[in-house]
C-alpha cells in the first residue's frame, strides 16, 4: 500500500490504515449555559430517515446524523475529509482489507423503550441494506460477525476501497434498531420508530425541523442546545435571510458566492464542503436522431463550457473533464475534444444532420435553465435547433428509467448532475451495462469498461486506480454521449464565530457545530 496522497486527495487509504488517534467527539458543553441556539437552512423538505429507501443526501442525512447512530463519521485530518470513529463507538479498526472490527459504547439507549444499541442492530441494519434501494453501496458487504453484545466484525466479500468513506460514513451507513424497525413492518419514512443520538427531532412539513437535546442521550454532548433547520428552497431567499441575521449557516448559490467573494457580509465565513458533483450534457446513443457518432461528436465540440461556467455559475464552478470530481484519484485535467464550432459544423454537414431538432431536458432551476439557454445558443450556431424542456424534480429523475414509463425512448439530450462520495469508484457504478435504463440513460455499454470497473473495485493502489479510472472516462467520452460541464462546489456561508463541519458530500454534520 504505497501511495502518494496529494493534499487534496481524500484519504481512501485511511480506510484500511486504522485511525491514528483521531476520533469523533462532539464539541460538548464545557459549562452549562442556556440558549445555545443555532439556526440553519435545509434546501428542501425532509422526506425520510430510512437509509434503505430514502432519496438520500441533504437534508435527510443531516437529520440522521443528529438522531441516529453510525459507526463512523466524516472528520478532517490535515484539512482532508476522511472517516473517523463516531461518538457511538469505543473503537473502529480496519484489521485488513476485508475485516473491520468495532466496539460500541455501552448504555446508548433507543427511544420509545426499544432498549440498548447492540451489535445485533448493526448486523440487522447492514444486512437490510443489501436488499434495499441503496444496495449498490453494499456490493462488497458479506456479513457482520457478532462477538458479543457490543463488539463485532464487519466482513467484506472482496477488498472494497470505498467501503468506509462512501458507505459506512455516508448516509447509508446509518444504524437502525432491529426491534423498532420490525415493529413498524420493516420500513418507515419521516417518523422513525426509534432514535438514538444526541438530538431528537420534530418536523413541521415544509417549514422546519427542530432538533433539541435528547434527554436520554448519555454519550458526548453536542454544543448547541437546539438547532432550528428552516426549510428554504430558494437559494436567494436563504442568502437574504443570512444577511438579515435570520440564519447562521446556509448553502449558497454560485451567484451569491461570486458576490460574497468580492464583498463578504460582516462577521461571516465561507466554507467549501466539497465539489463532489459532476454535471454533464448527456445524449441518448440509441435515439434515431443521435445514433450517428458524428452528430454526438459535433455536439461535444459545439458546447462552450467556459461560457456556461461564466454565464450560469458566475465563474465559481470548476471545469469538468469527466465524472471523477476534483481531489479524487483519476480526476482528468483536460478532455479529448475542445470547443470548435467550425469542426462541429462540418461534422454535422458530413452527417447530413443540418436542421436537426432536439429537445433538451433539464431540471427547472435557474442555473440549469441558464446553462440550457447557452447550450441552445451554441447548438443553434451549428444548425441544431434546440427546444428546452424544464422539468421538475419528480419527472426529471424518472425520465431515463425504463421502470418509470416510456419517456426514456424519447429522451434526446439532457443536463444531468450526480453527486458522489469521496471515492472515484462511486460515479462509475451508474454507467455500467446493468445500469442501462436505470441510471445509464446514455444507453451504451462496453466490455472494456465492465472489465475495468471490476478491476477498479479490487485495486487498492491509487496509481493503478488513477489509470483505470482515467481510461474509463476516456471510454465514456469516446461514445460521444457526454459533454462534460462543471463540478459545482457546495459552498456554505456561516457566522465566523461558528465552527461548521460538513460531510464531503455537502451535508451539515450538525452535532459537530460549535461557537467559539
Amino acid at each position: 500500500m504505497t501511495q502518494t496522497i496529494s493534499r487534496r486527495h481524500f484519504m481512501q487509504a485511511a480506510a484500511f490504515a486504522g485511525t491514528a488517534g483521531l476520533s469523533g467527539v462532539f464539541p460538548g458543553m464545557s459549562f452549562a449555559q442556556d440558549g445555545r441556539k443555532l439556526t440553519v437552512r435545509f434546501n428542501r423538505d425532509f422526506d425520510s430517515l430510512d437509509p434503505g429507501f430514502y432519496v438520500g443526501g441533504h437534508p435527510n442525512n443531516d437529520v440522521n446524523w443528529c438522531c441516529m447512530p453510525s459507526l463512523v463519521h466524516y472528520g478532517f485530518r490535515d484539512g482532508q475529509a476522511t472517516w473517523i470513529p463516531s461518538p457511538f463507538v469505543e473503537s473502529v479498526v480496519a484489521r485488513d482489507s476485508t475485516h473491520i472490527d468495532f466496539r460500541l459504547k455501552q448504555g446508548l439507549m433507543w427511544s420509545n423503550g426499544f432498549g440498548e444499541l447492540t451489535t445485533d442492530d448493526v448486523a440487522f441494519s447492514y444486512e437490510r441494506m443489501t436488499t434495499s434501494e441503496w444496495k449498490s453501496d453494499y456490493v462488497a458487504f458479506d456479513r457482520v460477525d457478532i462477538m458479543d453484545r457490543y463488539s463485532g466484525t464487519i466482513v467484506l466479500n472482496q477488498p472494497f476501497a470505498p467501503f468506509m468513506n462512501t458507505t459506512l460514513a455516508s448516509g447509508t451507513g446509518i444504524i437502525l434498531s432491529r426491534k423498532a424497525t420490525e415493529s413498524v413492518g420493516g420500513k418507515f419514512t419521516t417518523e422513525a420508530p426509534a432514535t438514538c443520538g444526541p438530538y431528537v427531532y420534530a418536523w413541521t412539513q415544509g417549514q422546519h425541523v427542530k432538533l433539541t437535546r435528547n434527554p436520554e442521550w448519555t454519550g458526548d454532548a453536542p454544543y448547541f442546545d437546539s438547532i432550528d433547520a428552516l426549510i428554504v428552497t430558494e437559494d436567494d431567499s436563504a442568502a437574504l435571510a443570512f444577511e438579515a441575521g435570520e440564519l447562521d449557516c446556509t448553502q449558497i448559490s454560485s451567484e451569491a458566492l461570486a458576490r460574497y467573494k468580492e464583498k463578504p457580509p460582516a462577521d461571516s465565513a465561507l466554507t467549501v464542503a466539497g465539489a463532489l458533483q459532476y454535471m454533464w450534457l448527456g445524449m441518448n446513443t440509441e435515439h434515431p436522431k443521435l445514433k450517428d457518432l458524428r452528430v454526438r461528436r459535433a455536439i461535444q465540440s459545439a458546447v462552450d463550457q467556459a461560457s456556461i461556467i461564466q454565464g450560469a455559475y458566475a465563474g465559481t464552478a470548476e471545469a469538468s473533464y469527466g465524472v471523477v470530481s476534483p481531489g479524487l484519484v483519476g480526476k482528468r485535467d483536460s478532455a479529448g475534444y475542445s470547443h470548435d464550432p467550425g469542426m462541429a459544423r462540418s461534422l454535422i454537414e458530413e452527417a447530413g444532420a443540418s436542421g436537426l431538432e432536439l429537445t433538451l431536458r433539464t431540471l427547472n432551476n435557474q442555473e440549469r435553465i441558464l446553462a440550457a439557454t447557452i447550450i441552445q445558443a451554441n447548438l443553434a450556431e451549428i444548425g441544431i435547433n434546440v427546444t428546452v424542456m424544464p422539468l421538475d424534480a419528480g419527472p426529471f429523475w424518472e425520465m431515463g428509467q425504463e421502470s418509470k414509463g416510456d419517456t426514456w425512448k424519447d429522451l434526446e439530450i439532457w443536463i444531468m448532475r450526480f453527486g458522489s462520495g469521496p471515492d472515484p469508484y462511486e460515479p462509475f457504478q451508474w454507467f455500467i451495462r446493468d445500469q442501462v435504463g436505470i441510471w445509464n440513460w446514455e444507453r451504451w455499454s462496453s466490455d472494456e469498461f465492465e472489465e475495468l470497473f471490476k478491476m477498479g473495485i479490487e485495486e487498492v493502489d491509487s496509481n493503478e486506480r488513477a489509470k483505470i479510472y482515467t481510461r474509463m472516462q476516456e471510454i465514456m467520452e469516446e461514445t460521444g454521449a457526454y459533454v462534460w460541464l462543471t463540478h459545482e462546489p457546495e459552498v456554505f456561508i456561516h457566522r465566523s464565530d461558528i465552527s461548521a463541519k460538513f460531510a464531503p458530500s455537502g451535508e451539515m454534520q450538525l452535532p459537530y457545530f460549535s461557537r467559539t
Binding site: D236, A239, L240, S253, E255, A256, A258, R259, S307, Q310, G311, A312, A314, N364, N365, Q366, I369, L370, A372, T373, I374, Q376, A377, T387, V388, M389, P390, L391, D392, P395
Partner: protein, 289 residues
C-alpha cells in the same frame, strides 16, 4: 343596465369626445397604444437580438450599449423587455378574444335559451369561478408540464364566466323587448336573432370588460413565468426577466426593475382606459369587478 347600453352605444361620437376630455382615459389610451406599438415594432426598436448571448457583458448596468443593462448571460435587457411585450400581447390578444367570444356565445345562449340550460350554465360558471386561477394553473402544470398554450387555456377557461354572466344579463333584459319579439314574430331563427340582433347590443359592455381583463391575463402569464412554469427559454417574457432578475437581485437590481415597470404600465394603461370607457359608455358596469 342593458337598456342603457342599447341606448348609449347609439351615441358614439359624443361619447368619444368625452373620452378625449377624460385625462385618466387619455393616459390609459397612450399607455395602451405604447404597449401595442412597442410589442408590434419590437424587431425595429430593439438594439440587440433578445437571445444573443454576450457572456463578458453579464450583469453590466445601464449604459450606451445596453440601455437597461444586461442579464447574467449578457443578453440586452431593453431588447428582452420589448420582446417580452410580444408574449404579453399574444397572451392578452388570444386569451381575451377567445374568452370574449366563447363567453359571449355561452352568455347569450344562457340568457336566451330555456330555463334549465340557463341554470346549468350558471352553475358551470360559478364552479369555474370557485377555482382560484393560480391554484388551478399550478394543478394543471403539475399534470401537463409548463407551456404557453397551457397558460392560454387556463386564462381562457377562467375568464369565460365573467363575460358570459355579463352577456347573459344583457340578453335576459333584451329577450322580451318589443324589438326582439317583433323579429321573432316575423319568423327569424334563434341563430339569426342572437347574432344579428342580440349580439350588437350585448357586445359593448363586454368590450369594456375585455379592456379591464387584459391586466389580469397579462399578470397571470407573468406570474407563472416568474415561477418558472410559463414560457420556455430562450423566449423573453416579463415574467422570465423577473425570474432571472430575482436570482441576481443583490448584484444588480436592474432586471427586476426593468421587467416590472412595463408590466405595471401595461396593467395601469388598460385599467385606466377600461375605467374611462366604462364611466363614459356604461357607468352601471361599476359593480362587475
Amino acid at each position: 343596465m342593458t337598456m342603457d347600453a342599447v341606448g348609449t352605444f347609439r351615441q358614439r361620437p359624443e361619447k368619444l369626445a368625452l373620452l378625449l376630455k377624460n385625462k385618466q382615459g387619455m393616459i390609459g389610451f397612450v399607455l395602451v397604444v405604447a404597449f401595442f406599438l412597442s410589442a408590434l415594432l419590437a424587431p425595429f426598436l430593439a438594439t440587440h437580438d433578445p437571445a444573443q448571448l454576450d457572456i463578458p457583458a453579464r450583469l453590466t448596468g445601464p449604459g450606451a450599449d445596453h440601455w437597461l443593462g444586461a442579464d447574467q448571460l449578457g443578453r440586452d435587457t431593453y431588447s428582452r423587455v420589448l420582446y417580452g411585450g410580444r408574449v404579453a400581447l399574444k397572451v392578452a390578444a388570444i386569451g381575451v378574444t377567445l374568452s370574449l367570444v366563447i363567453g359571449l356565445t355561452l352568455g347569450m345562449v344562457a340568457g336566451y335559451g330555456p330555463r334549465w340550460l340557463d341554470n346549468a350554465l350558471l352553475l358551470l360558471f360559478d364552479t369555474i369561478r370557485s377555482f382560484p386561477t393560480i391554484v388551478l394553473a399550478l394543478a394543471a402544470v403539475s399534470l401537463l408540464g409548463p407551456s404557453l398554450n397551457l397558460i392560454l387555456s387556463i386564462v381562457i377557461i377562467t375568464s369565460i364566466p365573467s363575460y358570459a354572466r355579463l352577456a347573459r344579463t344583457s340578453t335576459l333584459a333584451l329577450k322580451n323587448t318589443e324589438f326582439i319579439m317583433a323579429e321573432r314574430s316575423l319568423g327569424a331563427g334563434t341563430f339569426r336573432i342572437l347574432f344579428r340582433h342580440v349580439m350588437p347590443n350585448v357586445i359593448g359592455p363586454l368590450l369594456i370588460l375585455a379592456a379591464m381583463d387584459v391586466p389580469v391575463v397579462v399578470t397571470i402569464e407573468a406570474g407563472l413565468s416568474f415561477l418558472g412554469l410559463g414560457v420556455l427559454p430562450p423566449t423573453a417574457s416579463w415574467g422570465t426577466i423577473l425570474n432571472e432578475g430575482y436570482l441576481v437581485i443583490r448584484t444588480s437590481p436592474w432586471p427586476v426593475v426593468a421587467g416590472g415597470i412595463p408590466l405595471v404600465l401595461t396593467t395601469l394603461g388598460f385599467t385606466l382606459l377600461g375605467e374611462a370607457l366604462r364611466d363614459i359608455f356604461d357607468p352601471k358596469l361599476r359593480g362587475i369587478r
